[in-house]
């Protein structure tokens, strides 16, 4: 080896300049300005006035604000919890049973079919479902009518609108965990299952102790990613219900949008967006921590 090896590590920061400046101008500065706006009362036209934490206090007592986060919990159930659980069982079933006993080809056809909704822009998925759920001539009410059941106003009835949105999101979301979990299962050592079978473990025991345990990192990624996506849900709500009827399906991002662009409450909109950001950053930090701890443990 040469005494003075060719230095590779100098002067590279120049290459970072365009990307870092762009990031600063398009993301960091707008984000900081948004945080700044959240401490003001501003209609977007005249000068903003500094009001300190008033917007945050207002949020704490605002029923619509809490309603939007409560609805977000429903959305999390529909986008994270249900699809992850269904995805786990479906992936294990397709991978174990269908691929082994019926054929790999059949398993991939099902996987592709279940994944299909995921290729749509969420806004288009919303348009499709709004068409199906249309109260007067929609397909679902037509079907219900054929079998003698009561038609409903699926998106226009405050009592059921959120459940309709949830159902649509489950339909949209299932493919994502399924595809990731099926890929993850490929790296599970089949000998683990054989050893467990010798020990007399049944299917459910193997599922819990081997499958879930072995693909833990992927489950973790799916849960985090879908959690973040559900906190950001906007287009679906915009297309399906516009947060209504009343505020029955309002979510934080739509509530922020309304304040920004419909009610000219820019300061309050910025407050809601800032609170959303804090929650998402906390989740991400938690994720990085747990993941690096997991990697350390595996390395040890």
């Amino acid at each position: 080896m040469a005494v003075k090896s060719v230095s590779l590590d100098r002067g590279y920061w120049v290459f970072l300049l365009p990307g870092a400046v762009a990031l600063l101008l398009v993301i960091i500065i707008p984000f900081l300005i948004n945080v700044g706006i959240s401490f003001t009362a501003w209609n977007g036209i005249t000068e903003p006035t500094w009001i300190g934490l008033d917007n945050y206090q207002k949020a704490a007592h605002d029923k619509t604000f809490w309603m939007s986060f409560q609805n977000n919990l429903y959305i999390i159930v529909a986008m994270t919890i249900i699809p992850t659980i269904i995805g786990l069982f479906l992936a294990a079933f397709l991978y174990d049973f269908v691929a082994n006993k019926i054929g790999n080809r059949v398993a991939s056809v099902f996987r592709a079919g279940y994944y299909l909704p995921q290729i749509l822009p969420v806004a288009i998925a919303g348009v499709v479902w709004r068409w199906i759920l249309q109260p007067r001539w929609g397909v679902l009410n037509w079907l219900l009518d054929q079998v003698g059941m009561e038609p409903r106003n699926w998106l226009g009835d405050a009592d059921i609108a959120i459940y309709s949105v949830m159902g649509i999101m489950v339909w949209f979301q299932i493919g994502y965990p399924l595809v990731i979990f099926m890929a993850a299962l490929q790296r599970v050592d089949p000998e683990l299952y054989e050893a467990a079978s010798v020990d007399g473990a049944n299917w459910l025991e193997k599922f819990i102790h081997i499958t879930i345990h072995q693909i833990r990192p992927e489950i973790f990624v799916v849960v985090l990613m879908t959690l973040i996506h559900s906190l950001k849900i906007f287009a679906q709500i915009f297309v399906l219900t516009r947060g209504g009827p009343g505020r029955a399906t309002i979510v934080p991002s739509y509530f922020a949008y309304q304040n920004f662009f419909e009610k000219a409450n820019v300061g309050y909109g910025a407050t809601i967006a800032t609170i959303m950001t804090v929650i998402i950053i906390l989740l991400t930090v938690l994720f990085i921590n747990v993941q690096s701890r997991q990697e350390l443990r595996e390395a040890a």
């Binding site: 060719v6 993301i27 984000f31 348009v127």
Partner: protein, 279 residues
């Protein structure tokens, strides 16, 4: 035939039956939108949504196509998505070259920065971006959307490419340097060609993600002549009093490009989805 064989065959049939039932539920919206896009309004009214169309009636599709100037929307979406994919890859490549190959000081912090930028909700950028765009005269231009999304996508691209580049064989880099390659040549002649497979995955990702975007394009593009495909279809469905078959024609036009992309890029995408999961 013994009992266990019969049982196994029964299990297989039951499994296929259940999976097929679920498949039908999952694909039903696609099928129903497709068949009704080709019906006349009268057919829909008299035979209901489940009947097959009597003929290939394309007036609904053509009518909607003309009404929204769909050609223009396709051009807008394509121009925006391709530009973002190219510019986003350019930025990611430069960043990752400095962070992954050059290993500049503080790279871990830069990476955390890019990762954070990638997870920020667009709502927290929307109003300042809208305000900037207005004061710079970029409001309601495709360029504004191209700039914003090139940077947003590059945050993810930097993260992914840096982890790929940090495992780049050092011997190749050192050999190139000894042969008198400067840094720009190193990037353009050595690193970029070798990482072309990853770059093509990124291209497909950026293209499709940008195509599917809704929130910021809606805020930055007001006039219909600048709008993208998902935007035009989603915004229009509330405004026009469309009948059932024209509505389904509009939904079908929204679905079709994505199905085409999926078929074209299927292999790259499946590779990418799983690669993204362990990033």
């Amino acid at each position: 035939m013994n009992a266990s064989l019969v049982l196994e065959r029964f299990n297989k049939s039951l499994a296929l039956l259940l999976l097929t039932a679920l498949l039908i539920v999952m694909l039903f919206p696609f099928a129903i939108v497709t068949i009704n896009a080709f019906k006349t309004p009268a057919e829909y009214a008299s035979n209901g949504p489940l009947s097959l169309p009597g003929g290939l009636y394309t007036d609904g599709l053509r009518d909607f196509w003309d009404r929204v100037d769909f050609t223009n929307k396709l051009i807008n979406s394509t121009v925006i998505s391709v530009s973002v994919a190219v510019a986003g890859i350019g930025l990611s490549l430069l960043n990752a070259f400095a962070l992954g190959i050059g290993r500049v000081r503080g790279r871990v912090w830069f990476l955390i920065f890019f990762l954070m930028a990638n997870t920020l909700p667009q709502e927290a950028l929307a109003y300042p971006l809208y305000y900037f765009a207005k004061s710079l005269g970029l409001y309601n231009t495709r360029l504004s959307v191209i700039i914003v999304f090139s940077v947003i996508q590059s945050a993810f691209g930097t993260y992914l490419l840096t982890s790929v580049f940090s495992t780049f064989p050092r011997e190749i880099l050192e050999a190139a340097r000894i042969d008198g390659c400067n840094k720009v040549q190193l990037l353009l002649r050595i690193v970029t060609p070798i990482s072309r497979p990853t770059l093509s995955v990124l291209f497909v990702f950026f293209f499709i993600w940008t195509w599917n975007e809704f929130f910021l394009p809606m805020i930055l593009l007001v006039s219909t002549s600048n709008q993208t495909v998902p935007l035009a279809i989603a915004v229009l469905q509330g405004q026009h009093n469309m009948d059932a078959t024209t509505s389904s024609a509009s939904a079908l036009l929204g679905i079709l490009p994505c199905v085409i992309f999926f078929l074209l890029f299927q292999r790259t995408l499946t590779k990418g989805i799983t690669a993204g999961s362990v990033k």
